[in-house]
């Protein structure tokens, strides 16, 4: 069907849709709160304005206010009144409950139904009263409120003229009008656009008298205008910016003009603006020939319609995902990330956030220390946290152990490790928190043979946990429970932080590097053969520096059962409540410091006013080895402790014995604490210390100068 001798087929630029996010938010809440599973159609309002940019067409937009505010019992929602920038256009929304439902909607049927409404409004004359009905539209959608995917498809029903309208002439308005006419037309258009009564009326008549004076009349006044004998232009707000094509609203306008007034030669004005004023260079005036179809004589006949919006050239629906603004978990993650990035931008450019978020932390103990450490880690952006604890939440716990509430104490109490992990997830859903309910095997607490199997399993499990994490926090409440973890960490050369509490004092320290692994220290300084030789004389291993100590390095006795044979007041471990948060916070800050230190686990001990620590001006500050605090003095001391070759937990002898004999060795150590003392030579050391006697009593040499009192 090519053009005929009357001109080429008039081609219209399709309407384009633009849906503001607020519309989807509004629809979601409407669905959740009011509609639920009701699939009946919803009256909505679209908005558009004349084109105001020579590069870009105006869109038909949907905003939050497009949705009815009080959808109630049978009354169609009031079309919200527009303004000069938002001409209201009535529309209908079919929102389905399932994706299948969406895809199986009878699209042609729905389009026909809307087209029928337009046709009826034309025939009845309603379109003369309220011309916005000529641009009525249809929207189908499906809102997946679990994944926040929104499927949607617009249709802008256009009555098909058969045969199609042809274009005789089309040119910029400024070229069509005379200068005087142009001036007059601009003036009255601007006036029309300024008045709040008419600014949002998208179809009107421009009547030009013989003395070039233009007036704007509403469609209702057409007959009167005809009688005046003036030149009449059928004008409409044209969203399209193209110089050679009018916009979509003209389609139904032509159908209306033809059907209503039986006009065959239509002169039209595509009204477009620039900056709020009529732009006659951008606006177009054209002449079209419309042949009414025979079929229109039939009262029942409804013309065919087209108008489904294309999606990137294809006749498929659109789908967008709004989880970044609707999914609370994603929003929480994004807020947390941005918060840390803000810190990096403002204060700490060398902060390595991706390292923090990928560091896997193992927390042994989910009590006062464990809960606080876990929270602090999350605050720093750590996302992988495993908590180990064999106990259950007791009624007194929630006060001091910040992850628990009363609910966790009921019915005998939930397992702490599991309750803690759950609590972490409740605070920040994106955390990968896991709870392991397990007791840590301890020396001095001999294992009855029927439980040996279980204990060995636990040892193995603990070994695996240590291997699979990057940083381990020892946060248990007894000394002996820290032994096996210390050994395992030393064996695996893992970052280990110990926090321990007294009544009003605390210790926070980082363990030194493991004794048997090749460290990076040898790369840090050139080792001359002489110094290497000297070092080798003092240590039996290949370290070129002394390692920092662990929690047990300063002890001369092996860990024993500290819980038995204590006086009653020793057995109930009480601490001042302020201690645990302080110690936990320091423990986490210490970890962050190590992670950012170029030498990591092998970093030297640094002091506040040391000349030695000055070389490493780390942005986070100094990296101490040990912090001992006394709450009674509100004071803190920074200390260092070097590793001991007789340490029951981390000395090379013990670690290599573990490597050689594995769990057998552990079991032996657990069942016979003196075994460790023997192995490490502590027994020998003690014997030699005891044998060294001071002969106080044999001295009868009194100084003559002393006077007996």
């Amino acid at each position: 069907m090519a053009g005929n001798e009357n001109g080429t087929v008039l081609q219209f630029a399709p309407f384009q849709s633009s849906v503001d996010e607020g519309f989807w938010h509004g629809l979601s809440s409407l669905k959740l709160n009011k509609l639920k599973t009701d699939e009946s159609p919803i009256s909505i309002t679209g908005f558009y304005a004349p084109c105001s940019n020579p590069q870009v067409s105006s869109h038909l937009t949907l905003l939050t206010e497009s949705l009815p505010t009080e959808p109630s019992d049978g009354h169609p929602a009031e079309t919200s009144r527009g303004n000069r920038n938002k001409c209201s256009v009535p529309g209908i929304l079919y929102n389905t409950n399932t994706l299948e439902g969406f895809h199986s909607l009878d699209k042609q049927g729905l389009l026909k139904a809307e087209a029928k409404k337009i046709w009826e409004d034309i025939r009845s004359g309603k379109a003369e009263e309220d011309s916005s009905v000529l641009t009525r539209f249809l929207l189908i959608s499906f809102a997946d409120l679990k994944k926040f995917n929104f499927y949607y498809w617009f249709a802008f029903p256009a009555l098909v003229l058969d045969p199609p309208a042809t274009l005789v002439d089309l040119r910029p308005a400024s070229q069509w009008f005379t200068l005087e006419e142009a001036e007059s037309v601009s003036a009255c258009c601007n006036e029309w656009r300024m008045s709040s009564l008419t600014a949002d009326v998208p179809f009107f008549l421009v009547s030009i008298s013989s003395n070039s004076h233009a007036t704007i009349r509403s469609l209702k006044d057409f007959k009167a205008c005809q009688q005046d004998g003036h030149k009449i232009l059928f004008a409409f707000y044209d969203p399209c910016h193209l110089p050679n094509n009018p916009g979509w609203p003209l389609r139904n306008f032509l159908a209306f003009i033809s059907a209503r007034w039986n006009i065959k030669k239509v002169q039209f004005l595509c009204y477009r603006e620039n900056h709020g004023f009529a732009d006659l260079g951008l606006s177009l005036v054209g002449e079209a020939l419309v042949q009414p179809s025979q079929a229109w004589q039939d009262q029942q006949h409804v013309p065919n319609a087209v108008g489904w919006e294309l999606n990137k050239g294809k006749r498929v629906p659109r789908c967008i995902n709004l989880s970044t603004s609707m999914d609370p978990t994603r929003m929480a993650v994004s807020a947390a990330d941005l918060n840390l990035k803000l810190m990096r931008w403002r204060a700490l450019p060398s902060l390595d956030l991706s390292m923090l978020s990928s560091t896997k932390c193992l927390l042994l103990g989910a009590g006062t220390l464990g809960c606080q450490v876990a929270r602090m880690l999350m605050a720093w952006g750590v996302r992988k946290i495993t908590l180990v604890d064999s106990g259950k939440v007791a009624m007194s716990n929630p006060l001091r152990q910040s992850l628990y509430t009363l609910e966790d104490c009921l019915n005998g109490g939930d397992f702490k490790a599991l309750a803690a992990a759950k609590s972490l997830r409740r605070i920040f859903p994106a955390v990968e928190a896991e709870g392991v309910v397990m007791a840590i095997p301890m020396p001095g607490h001999p294992v009855p043979s029927q439980e040996e199997h279980k204990v060995l399993d636990d040892c193995r499990h603990l070994h695996d946990l240590v291997e699979s994490h990057d940083a381990i926090f020892l946060l248990t409440d007894t000394r002996e429970s820290r032994w096996l973890p210390t050994l395992l960490c030393a064996n695996a050369n893992k970052l280990t932080i110990t926090a321990a509490l007294g009544f009003d004092s605390f210790l926070v320290m980082r363990h030194g590097a493991g004794p048997l692994t090749a460290t990076d220290e040898s790369k840090a300084e050139p080792v001359s053969s002489l110094s290497a030789g000297v070092d080798e004389m003092s240590l039996t291993q290949s370290d070129s520096k002394t390692r920092l100590g662990c929690y047990f390095c300063n002890d001369v006795v092996a860990p024993v059962d500290s819980t038995a044979n204590r006086t009653l007041d020793q057995q109930c471990t009480v601490t001042r409540p302020g201690l645990a948060p302080i110690a936990s916070a320091l423990a986490v800050e210490l970890l962050v410091g190590i992670l950012h230190h170029p030498h990591g686990i092998s970093a030297k001990a640094e002091f506040g006013n040391s000349l030695d620590g000055g070389s490493s001006e780390q942005p986070l500050g100094i990296l101490p080895h040990q912090i001992r605090g006394a709450l009674s003095q509100f004071s803190q001391m920074i200390l260092v402790g070097h590793s001991s070759n007789s340490c029951t937990a981390c000395c090379p002898t013990v670690v290599s014995e573990y490597r050689k004999r594995g769990l057998d060795f552990v079991l032996q150590a657990i069942n016979h604490p003196t075994y460790l003392e023997d192995l490490t030579g502590l027994t020998e050391l003690m014997k030699s210390a005891n044998s060294f006697e001071l002969d106080w009593d044999n001295e009868t040499d009194y100084d003559d100068d002393c006077v007996e009192i």
Binding site: V9, G22, A158, P164, L310, K312, R318
Partner: protein, 235 residues
């Protein structure tokens, strides 16, 4: 020793309290400045859509008397996408819709994104804050990486890496949805510098000067340039 008594006459310059002293702006001055800015922009800057003041005084259900509550809105700034080769010549599918001669078939070269900018007053920082949001033509919101990739000018990149500008995401105070914004915590510092460097004698237009200066910095990140006539028209 000569005792010279010199009387120093201090010329007290009546400067509208805050804008020039510490780089901040009061709420009422913000409203005045926003008005003036809008007027000038809409007059001189035909390349862009218009700014509108969105009044929110009634959002709590009552109009708090005399309290300014609202923000400046610039919608639908179209920023072209950096060219992506999308040769998606898929055939249109099964639909039994009529093939319609009267529909213009357009190439999908109209590839660009829509940006919305809001200027919101921050009562805690006492400065204006630029909020923005972008989406592609089908309504899919752009994330920060995508926005940064498509920022129109090289200088925008520099600004992004500078000490003064940091893009973060926060809940829009009026729309209650996450929008991106240029974090305001550095604003009064660089405003102080900017205003000191400029000509301060125009006390009467201090507020307007503040706003225009502020916008000339933040707008640059997105290529929202202030035309020369507009800058000239102050004072």
């Amino acid at each position: 020793m000569n005792q010279t008594v010199s009387i120093v006459i201090l010329k007290v310059v009546m400067v509208s309290d805050q804008e020039t002293c510490d780089g901040s702006l009061s709420l009422s001055d913000f409203r005045i400045a926003a008005n003036a800015f809008t007027e000038k922009w809409n007059k001189f800057n035909s390349a862009f859509p218009e700014w509108y003041w969105i009044d929110c005084s009634n959002r709590l259900g009552f109009a708090a008397h005399g309290v300014v509550d609202g923000y400046l809105s610039l919608q639908n700034v179209f920023i072209r996408r950096s060219l992506e080769e999308e040769h998606d010549e898929g055939s249109s599918n099964d639909d039994d819709e009529l093939f319609d001669d009267a529909t213009l078939v357009q190439s999908t070269s109209d590839d660009g994104d829509q940006y919305h900018f809001h200027v919101v007053y921050s009562p805690s920082y006492k400065v204006p804050v630029l909020y923005f949001h972008a989406h592609s033509t089908d309504g899919q919101p752009l994330n920060l990486d995508e926005i940064e990739k498509n920022l129109p000018t090289k200088s925008a990149k520099v600004l992004l890496e500078s000490k003064w500008t940091f893009i973060t995401q926060e809940e829009h105070p009026y729309l209650n949805r996450p929008w991106y914004m240029l974090h305001p915590c550095g604003t009064n510092e660089w405003m102080k510098l900017l205003l000191l460097a400029g000509d301060n004698s125009m006390a009467t237009n201090g507020t307007e000067q503040y706003f225009i200066s502020w916008f000339s910095v933040v707008g640059q990140v997105f290529g929202l340039k202030l035309p020369f006539e507009m800058l000239k028209s102050i004072g």
